[in-house]
């Protein structure tokens, strides 16, 4: 187990190296550069050249890459061209929002998706099944920005049940400890701040959950349909076990493997930011910031954010792989 983890972490090194090289070359080959974003379209070529020189962008690309790697290896991700603040600071400020949003979306998607998928499979062909399969299809098809605006208009603007934007109400003066607003509220016992942060998470959480929810319903349904035909489920029934025991111990536990894989992949992609959802709800996460950085050709931010997200992605998938051996004893981690 320990050796498995170490080996996977060591694999991370060539992965990150390759990714950084690819990303660096690719970003710098994009037409335009940060100088255009800073100076505007109508600036003189001389002025633009001076800025490029100041930022070292006139050097050959391998020299630039060498400098970047040297800085990164000493633990410095550089300074944002757009905000003039360290990339690490920017990341630490925004990533907790993304994590909170991801967790919320996952709780919604898993909490509804697994039971719904199970019921759909057990009541195969009934209206419940058709409704959930149809709903899942709709969840995948409906554009996120559209769903986002509808949900916001109806539940936040019209009914006023939820706040419309942001992560925390401006009137609440919450103490910051970790940057995770809900956690901060709980740690400092500022219950109103925690409750307010949760309320801010619900609507974007629902919107962000729509696609993962749909995937989980479909995978769970398919997996349960397969498992219920297995001989060991018949054995469990022949033992006269209660329906609950057959369901949780014999059906769901076996049906969870493919679902766990899906949840792992979904978690990875959710953590890399939810641009549309963040934009609709003016929610401060990493997604919208990355898009902004692409516009500004903010190389340090892009390099730094994407590399960190890649590390997190790998770690999440490592956790998923480890969870297999918990679910299925036949999977031996070596």
């Amino acid at each position: 187990m320990f050796r498995f983890i170490v080996r996977r972490l060591l694999q991370l090194i060539p992965t990150l190296f390759g990714l950084s090289l690819l990303l660096f070359v690719w970003l710098h080959r994009l037409p335009g550069g940060p100088e255009t974003a800073i100076l505007g379209e109508r600036s003189t070529p001389e002025l633009r050249a001076r800025i490029r020189e100041e930022m070292g962008l006139d050097q050959p690309i391998w020299v630039q890459y060498g400098r970047f790697m040297k800085r990164v290896l000493s633990g410095d991700l550089g300074t944002s061209i757009g905000t003039k603040r360290p990339v690490t600071t920017e990341f630490l400020e925004r990533f907790p929002g993304t994590v909170e949003l991801t967790i919320t979306a996952l709780i919604i998607a898993v909490g509804i998706g697994i039971p719904l998928g199970y019921i759909a499979a057990r009541r195969r062909g009934t209206w419940i099944d058709q409704l959930s399969v149809g709903g899942a299809l709709l969840g995948i098809c409906i554009p996120v920005f559209f769903l986002g605006y509808i949900v916001k208009e109806v539940l936040a603007v019209n009914f006023g049940w939820f706040p419309t934007t942001g992560r925390q109400d401006v009137t609440i003066d919450a103490t910051r400890v970790t940057g995770f607003f809900v956690l901060d509220g709980l740690l400092t016992r500022e219950w109103d701040a925690a409750a307010d942060a949760i309320m801010h998470l619900i609507l974007p959480g629902i919107v962000l959950a729509s696609i993962p929810l749909a995937s989980i319903v479909r995978i769970t349904r398919a997996s349960v349909l397969e498992v219920v035909q297995e001989d060991y489920v018949r054995t469990a029934e022949a033992k006269g076990l209660t329906e609950q025991t057959v369901r949780s111990r014999h059906i769901l536990r076996n049906a969870m493997l493919p679902v766990a894989t899906t949840i792992g992949l979904l978690t990875g992609s959710l953590l890399s930011g939810a641009v549309l959802t963040e934009t609709v709800f003016a929610f401060s996460g990493i997604g919208a910031f990355i898009v902004e950085a692409i516009d500004r050709r903010d190389y340090p931010v892009l390099m730094g954010f994407i590399m960190i997200v890649a590390v997190i992605y790998v770690l999440v998938n490592l956790l998923v792989d480890l969870s297999y051996s918990l679910i299925d004893p036949r999977v031996r981690v070596r």
């Binding site: 111990r249 536990r253 299925d328 004893p329």
Partner: protein, 328 residues
């Protein structure tokens, strides 16, 4: 009165848009308390479906079950699901064909045994574990305490079947249904498992319904034998009577197709020609007629009736084999 009285049991698979299949067609037989009864036939003859129907384990949708299966005065086919769950595993238990796929791969053997004890005997924690270890020991699994913690894939085939048997006999059921319990096992293990089953039913007074395609399996242990073909009982007799004289050509064929070590050199096996799919609908005549070596024109005049002799020997054939040597 018999412990289990199956009367006129029929099972029809009727899926929407598909042709109806009558898998079991008016089967009747009895199992007395403490008695071993064999249900014999090829794959597809309806023997497994019969056992699943008795247990109430057939899917609810697309299946029509009719007739009676009276266990201890209660018709299991009319019993509600809750009562059935109380009876299953406690009064009537079942062992299946493939021990690996019949065990839950992600649950330790111990829990798969104790869950029966918890459900039907209210045993929990250490007491349940102790009893489970005792059960494993009783079915001949060495080092039972260690085995309790292991998973099915860590056990050998014979060991798995023993574990399944331990789960089935955990509550000392009055009836045990064994559906091809030895088919997936090596020959040497087969004999051990049969011995084990024989010992268990003798010691505990459990009745055993033995379902198999192998007449050799039932030869040594059953008090009476029922032979099924295409969903109907074609021959039924006490074991001694049947092995002395088989009337139905199908039964003759079944026995003739068992390889024997003591057969004279050069003697060939006599397989039954064709497959179970070459059946005639019973309404038009004998379903076995297309494969029968003793066929006459009368065979396809209409459905043959079950004829009974004085020795409780029943056969469904218009041109029965009358001397044991005829087949050879």
């Amino acid at each position: 009165m018999a412990l289990l009285e199956v009367k006129d049991l029929s099972v029809v698979f009727a899926r929407k848009g598909e042709r109806e299949v009558r898998a079991v067609d008016g089967v009747s037989f009895d199992v007395d308390a403490g008695e071993v009864v064999g249900l014999v036939g090829e794959s597809g003859c309806g023997k497994s479906v019969t056992s699943l129907a008795i247990m109430g384990l057939l899917p609810k949708r697309g299946v029509r079950v009719s007739g009676q299966a009276t266990f201890d005065g209660m018709n299991l086919l009319q019993t509600d699901e809750r009562t059935l769950r109380d009876i299953r595993g406690r009064d009537v238990a079942m062992i299946f064909q493939d021990p690996l796929s019949s065990l839950n791969p992600v649950v330790p053997i111990g829990l798969q045994v104790t869950e029966v004890l918890t459900r039907h005997r209210g045993m929990k924690g250490e007491a349940a574990k102790k009893e489970a270890a005792h059960l494993l020991e009783r079915v001949g699994i060495p080092d039972p305490t260690r085995r309790l913690k292991e998973y099915p894939h860590q056990l050998s085939g014979g060991m798995r079947q023993r574990a399944l048997i331990a789960m089935a006999v955990a509550c000392a059921p009055r009836l045990l249904i064994a559906d091809e319990p030895t088919t997936a096992l090596d020959v040497t293990i087969q004999a051990q498992i049969l011995e084990l089953l024989k010992d268990l039913v003798r010691d505990s007074g459990t009745a055993l319904l033995m379902i198999t395609h192998d007449l050799g399996v039932v030869a040594g242990m059953c008090k009476s034998i029922n032979v099924l073909y295409a969903g109907r009982r074609v021959e039924s007799a006490p074991r001694r009577v049947l092995f002395a004289q088989r009337h139905h050509p199908y039964t003759v064929g079944l026995l003739g197709s068992i390889p024997r070590l003591d057969a004279p050199k050069g003697e060939k096996l006599r397989p039954i020609t064709g497959s179970v799919r070459d059946v005639l609908p019973w309404a038009e005549g004998c379903a076995f007629a297309p494969r029968c070596f003793n066929r006459v024109d009368r065979c396809v005049d209409g459905p043959p009736e079950l004829v009974w002799t004085a020795a409780q020997h029943g056969y469904r054939c218009v041109n029965p084999v009358m001397e044991a040597e005829t087949a050879k």
